[in-house]
Amino acid sequence: MTQVATSSDKPARVKVYRHSLAVRITHWLNVLCLTFLLMSGLQIFNAHPYLYWGEYGSDALPDASFVAIEAYADGDSMKGVTRVGPIAMTTTGVLGASYSGGELTPRAFPAWLTIPSYQDLGTGRRWHFFFAWFFVINGLVYLVYGLVSRHFRRDLLPAAEELTPRHLGHEIAQHARLRFPRGEAARRYNSLQKLAYLGVGFVLLPLMVLTGLTMSPGFNAIFPWLLDLFGGRQSARTLHFIVAALTVGFVVIHLAMVLLSGVWNNLRSMITGYYTLHLDGGRRTGDEH
């Protein structure tokens, strides 16, 4: 590990090489892919803004859906209504009915969240599947790199002592107070980071791919067990949506943490690879590797 020490009486600033080139490239390609996948995915969802459990489900079956994002006439205007199970909320302006070209238009997700901004399922699908392939290939590159370079073992696998309730409880309390590890402790990912990154990389994103494949009639013939795993095609579609929402949730928290724990240092390290540690004066250690 390369590092450069500065002055010795002030708190020492040490540059450490934190993110390898492969991690940085796959990270930013992932940002690109997930952005377009989300926006084209919402375009596809808008073509049929209902969710069901099981193998089948359509709007010809009243009450079959447990999620519906619809527009209703409201006098001369319209209102958007989002229903989840028995709970219905008026969501005009964002969900169900939103402004497009200055006019209130019936559409589940608003124009600014979809690609293209107007309704066009065929184009949405073209973008979705292109970036789905891109995302899968990028993910495989990351996976092979992480295994071969021991990145997963070295940087992401938590040690046993990190997983004790006491340690995790302490980290959660510190995070909640927005106190983030500094100095030496910031050299490595903290336990919550490790668990979050492992959870996204090895649970959420693979689930995105698998639930997506389960919606494909062609892949159903190739891997029929996927239908059993997820409880049917419509369940897989619902899970695809829920896991996408969880992934968005991760991104929101991830961005908040990036902002709160030193935005420039974090951003620079994901671009150049170098992260600056602020060590206490005199406590600077000798050789790091």
């Binding site: 089948y56 359509s58 079956l61 066009d120 184009t123 494909s216 892949f219 159903n220 013939a221």
Partner: protein
Amino acid sequence: MSIDLTRRRFLIGGTLASTSLLAGCDALVENKSIDNVLQAGEWLSLKAQRLLLSGQQLAREYTEADLSPVFKANGTQLPETDEYKRLMDGQFADWRLIVDGRVRTPLSLSLADLKAMPARTQITRHDCVEGWSAIGKWTGVQLGAVLEKAGLAPGARYAVFHCADDYEQSLDGSGRYYESIDLVDAWHPQTILSYSMNGRDLEIAHGAPLRLRVERQLGYKHAKYLMRIELVDSFAHIGSGRGGFWEDRGYQWYAGI
């Protein structure tokens, strides 16, 4: 007041920013060369599925208990051409399925001719490109059996299905529904020309008297109201040349995903 101004400026700024972002995204979407690059996704899906489906695996078949209580009828529900109305009034007694193009023996088959051929019944799931699914029971004659009867002539690479319905009103006939599949799907055992659904004669809304079932692809490939099957070496000369009504309007020709 100043707060209001700032707020207004902020809102206007935000609206402008999001509008230009939208315009930027839509400009990307409408860029022809980007669109061509993105079609690589469709090509990859086709190649990957064809590679993994080389054994002609079957789509899942369900049981009677799995049938959906209502099977949504989509697309045309009642063709409005005079020709179709006349055939419908005559209980399709005068209807004939024409099989021609690159075949050795062009055929003209009545419904009775098709029903006299060996039948296949399958309970399968229909997946619409929009996202919904329905499970139905279909009986019909395997397309492969009909193609065998006609005999493929050299150069036959695609089966094009010409339908009776104008999905879009047009003067030049460009609104007429049609579809196409390649011979891999044409010879698949579950690819049938179906005249019966859920144990009854196929209803008008579901494509009477005959519709295609091509079970490993999405709903829009399952052409209804079949009139003619044309074997071709290329579909470039038909419609806008992309192989189907929806394909001509931007949908993917390969709908296995």
